[in-house]
Symmetry: C2
């Protein structure tokens, strides 16, 4: 049974996922190559729908049946979940420590039936379908008041943590707020309380004025390399107009977001030779949508600004960087933005 | 020129080390193998002292000259430093952002003249020499009031970020406090203010009572797997008696620390088949030793408890884990401690 445990010194939660049953000899070393499976057994390939738990949502061709071929995007429960919806939702203390039982949801978004294409290859229309599924799963999971946060993320390439080649993203809904999300929420709230302005809106304003860290500046979205980038070619993709909640994205923004993400991935592929990468959707926690929520949370709609964080995995995260939160980045964000801007795609 | 930049959303500093001059084509992918160089050119091998900047400190056989063979442990400036002592110490704002110029020190501790032995192979007497050098360099750097924190750490194995095989550790002295150190300092101070007890002392007390996460319990030190371990086989090595400052470690504790670290590394090597690992020394910041320091910092001698954090690198740090601070650990610390405790070494 999984459980969430709190580190009182570092103020951070971890999931101890013992269901996954790792004995020392079973633990995969980081160098383990990407698990390339044949189409006959790949659980994400059409025709193999029976190899996964029943689908939660799919965008399908008219007339096709659930859990059979004919889908364009398909959402399924993770077969090896870090957290399960069946777990009791228990919170208790253990001396100085805090524990929450491993209650949650862990879903996989299979982004395409075609195992030969990666996200950068998708048409804009297909990319839009994928992001509409992100939005709709997020909106649905946000209705469950037991979840404190819903993370949507993608690991592309084995160095980024992917275990299957077939293009997919993941959703984890958890009964606690992740530490870095708490830090972000608190920073932007403090800023708003002092200035009555959104910090990300101010950052976007300054970045557009400076220009040197901008990669793409289109009508609805801006793509930029953060001033304090932790990693080479780290990027943020954010809407220019203030909005805290990805789950209420309108069709117009969805269309622009799809086009901008595709262009960003193509530029990264060109400049960095198809790098492994992760992206993480940062959006306001579900509690903002609940009736009767305290003032503390109500403010989030004014001060949080959703964005996509994109990290190519070009350098090691060495342990001292993990242990201290202190990153050494060998590429300036100004250089990174210039290389990406000037790439011919 | 390097600079330190502050992320106002994540409340964290990064070093943009552009001196290292990484163009997209120069960035090493994580899979780059460990740089095994021949003894003729290894800058850490005896006889090649001229290939490094002049030594800062060495433990030497009597009668041998600086920067020549005859040393047991040797400290040199890093030839490719992330920060340099020659940089001006400037702090300035840039619109919404904060910048500190790349002032600092970056040293390498070559732990042995013998490139065939790794730290786990050292005799206890040799290990003690290495840790006495840690202590003495720390004490010396703490005298420079421009440094806010001094990090001592080791990357062992290429998956842990090492670029040379020859056994070595590193010191980075920086003009800001790393974000995770700030979080730790604040957590333990809040705890002390409420309870007038050190949080780590309470944790050690509870761990010794529980017993199930203890790996080694000797006279002066305890080695345990933290309750909320982020990674499989993550360990903490801490003195049983309260002490905040590694730079004042007495000879008795030094001797015990050397023996306990050696035993820990041998147990890890046995159970995990010579894993890559990082360790990071967590000790109170230098400001605690300054005259006229404010009450805020004075308290640290009561509430901070130095310890060594040891992380075998058995799993990926996937991007979502970086992006959210949310780790999924497939091995419970209770299992990890039991495997390590029961190993025959």
């Amino acid at each position: 049974m999984s459980e969430l445990r709190y580190d009182p010194v570092r103020k951070t939660w971890v999931i101890i996922a013992t269901e996954r049953g790792m004995r020392p000899t079973h633990i995969q070393r980081p160098e383990t190559p990407l698990h390339a499976v044949s189409r006959a057994v790949c659980p994400f390939c059409p025709g193999n729908e029976g190899r996964t738990p029943p689908e939660i949502l799919a965008i399908r061709n008219p007339g096709t049946q659930p859990n059979s071929p004919g889908w364009k995007v398909r959402v399924i429960p993770n077969k090896f979940p870090a957290l399960t919806i069946e777990s009791p939702q228990k919170r208790y203390g253990k001396g100085i420590y805090d524990v929450v039982s491993g209650f949650g949801a862990h879903e996989v978004i299979v982004e395409t039936p075609n195992d030969q294409e990666q996200m950068a290859d998708f048409t804009i229309a297909h990319m839009r379908d994928v992001f509409s599924v992100f939005r709709d799963r997020l909106a649905d999971l946000m209705k469950d008041h037991r979840f404190r946060y819903i993370m949507i993320f993608k690991n592309y390439g084995s160095e980024a943590g992917a275990t299957l080649c077939h293009s997919h993203s993941q959703i984890i809904a958890i009964p606690v707020t992740p530490s870095l999300v708490t830090v972000e929420l608190n920073s932007v709230r403090d800023y708003y309380m002092r200035k009555e302005r959104c910090m990300m809106c101010d950052i976007i304003h300054q970045e557009l004025e400076d220009g040197e860290r901008i990669v793409i500046n289109e009508e609805r979205f801006v793509v930029f390399a953060p001033f304090a980038s932790s990693f080479p070619f780290e990027l943020r993709i954010a809407p220019k107009t203030h909005n805290h909640d990805f789950s209420v994205l309108d069709e117009d923004h969805l269309q622009h977001f799809a086009a901008v993400v595709k262009e960003t991935l193509l530029r990264l592929r060109k400049v960095l030779n198809d790098p492994p990468y992760n992206f993480i959707l940062h959006t306001a926690p579900p509690v903002t949508r609940r009736p009767g929520k305290p003032e503390y949370w109500t403010s989030i709609s004014s001060d949080y600004h959703w964005h996509l964080e994109l990290i190519p995995r070009m350098t090691m995260i060495a342990g001292f960087e993990w242990g201290t939160g202190f990153q050494i980045n060998p590429t300036s964000p100004e250089d990174a933005a210039r290389f990406l801007r000037e790439a011919e795609i």
